[in-house]
């Protein structure tokens, strides 16, 4: 099951972030993919904002790979596999320790990991249409996520 939205500028991305944060539960994994500049870090900011985290804290983890933000409604672990490249070994960066049912783990360049650990995650693909507009495809691959996507779509419909 896939939800598809056109995001016209950052206001729309903020709404998507808020809806994702409202439906987020401890233990969730969000897998973000998309070209350089597609808005993965920005969407993470919007999610963090919904969790009550100061968005100025959210910066690209490309260099440092994992950022912990522990003072929101749910602890947010912001990960970026960019520098690990294709076939990234997520056990080596200690990511398993964070997938423990307590955190919301958001992973940029998630397609770089091909291990089974991330199969339970919600796939979010961002596409750069032009400087302002993005398209997003949100794909549920498990039954639990399918139910929750309906919730998310409801939230998006209301805003």
């Amino acid at each position: 099951m896939t939800l598809r939205y056109l995001l016209n500028g950052i206001d729309d991305t903020n709404i998507l972030g808020r809806c994702l944060s409202e439906s987020a539960r401890p233990g969730d994994i969000l897998l973000l993919s998309g070209d350089l500049g597609a808005g993965k870090t920005y969407l993470t900011k919007a999610i963090a904002s919904g969790l009550g985290i100061d968005t100025r804290e959210i910066t690209s983890p490309s260099f440092t790979i994992i950022h912990e933000h522990l003072n929101g409604r749910i602890p947010l672990i912001h990960v970026d596999l960019y520098r690990l490249g294709r076939h990234a070994d997520i056990t080596e960066i200690g990511l398993e320790d964070y997938i423990n049912g307590e955190n919301l783990v958001v992973i940029e360049w998630a397609e770089y990991s091909d291990g089974p650990l991330l199969e339970q995650g919600l796939k979010i693909d961002l596409y750069l249409i032009d400087e302002e507009v993005r398209e997003v495809c949100i794909t549920a691959r498990t039954d639990i996520w399918k139910d929750r996507l309906l919730e998310l779509d409801g939230c998006m419909g209301k805003k």
Binding site: L36, T41, K45, G85
Partner: protein, 336 residues
């Protein structure tokens, strides 16, 4: 300061916050006796900027040898070391832990005090590793792959954050633009070199001025703009023009914001450190624009711009003198 203030003579400093494994011996808080760095950059270059094996594992292999070499180069012995300073954060936890655990064990075994240093504070004071240094307070700009932050540095122990990047660090933007253009790694030196033959006005890339928080930075829009402009070009890419135009956009913002901070706080010394401080266009423009307005600019020598342990020693020395010793249950931190 109390009468009991301990003044370290031979301080061992260790840094493992990101890709480097580094150790240094600092004598009397001034004289750098040794400075050893093992970098993963050559390995990254081979793999196009990618970390083929996690830094922390590489650091675990290197740490003993790096510290031993720092002691030998300084013509000292473990028993001569009377204090240890180590980077406590921010950085990648797995990497930080390697140096931090080692430093804890070393301090405990030698029964000497241990202090935990903030990596960014260390960059801010790396300028004191050379003769010509600024006077406090000064404006400190740290620009690297992982950070772009502006501070007032009041003394060795107190710094105040004025602004920082909201998204990508400047060095990260250099690396990602190099990737977009199919250039090698690291992006900074390559773009800097190619820019020399390019026209900085060929493309008008955005400068994020951020009126609400004017001392913050943002380089994500610039990166996206370069990406979209490259996609629109048919035929041969004017790589040198793109590099020069992109570099100019980054440099403009860094120079403007550093000078604007100096103006706002009526501070006359500006120090630029971190890996991007090696960029020659940034050095030239910052020096020219600031000096024209009566500000003095300082840049660490190239070897102290990138991550190193010597700068950790500078802050560590002053922290230990101030009694800032860490407890045995202290932990590292990923973000400040």
């Amino acid at each position: 300061m109390t009468e009991n203030t301990f003044v370290p003579k031979n301080l061992l400093a260790i840094e493992t916050s990101c890709d480097e494994t580094a150790a240094a011996v600092l004598r009397n808080g001034r004289d750098l006796m040794s400075n050893v760095i093992v970098s993963q950059v050559p390995i990254h270059r081979k793999y196009g900027g990618v970390v083929p094996e996690l830094a922390s594992r590489h650091q675990l292999e290197a740490i003993v040898e790096v510290v031993e070499k720092a002691l030998i180069d300084a013509d000292t012995d473990r028993s001569d070391i009377d204090a240890v300073a180590v980077t406590q954060g921010p950085g990648l936890v797995g990497s930080l832990i390697v140096g931090f655990s080692f430093a804890k064990a070393m301090a405990m075994a030698q029964k000497v005090p241990l202090t935990g240093v903030n990596h960014l504070h260390a960059h801010l004071t790396s300028i004191f590793l050379q003769e010509s240094s600024p006077s406090f307070p000064y404006i400190g700009l740290v620009v690297s792959g992982g950070h772009t932050s502006l501070y007032i540095v009041r003394d060795f122990l107190s710094v105040e954050l004025l602004g920082q990047t909201r998204d990508d660090a400047a060095g990260e933007a250099f690396d990602k633009v190099a990737k977009i253009l199919g250039l090698g790694y690291p992006g900074g030196p390559i773009i800097s070199r190619l820019s020399e033959g390019g026209d900085p006005m060929a493309f008008s890339y955005p400068r994020a001025r951020l009126p609400d928080t004017p001392l913050d930075f943002s380089f994500s829009g610039l990166k996206t703009s370069v990406f979209t402009s490259v996609k629109q070009i048919q035929g041969t890419l004017p790589v040198r023009d793109i590099c020069a135009s992109f570099q100019e956009a980054v440099v403009d913002v860094l120079v403007e914001k550093a000078i604007s901070a100096a103006k706002r706080y009526a501070i006359y010394d500006i120090v630029v450190s971190g890996g991007v401080a090696a960029n020659s266009r940034l050095r030239a423009r910052m020096t020219r624009d600031a000096e024209r307005l009566g500000y003095r600019t300082y840049f660490p020598r190239l070897e102290f711009c990138t991550d190193n342990a010597a700068m950790v020693g500078i802050v560590g020395y002053h922290q230990i003198r101030a009694g800032m010793v860490i407890k045995e249950d202290a932990d590292v931190y990923s973000k400040k």
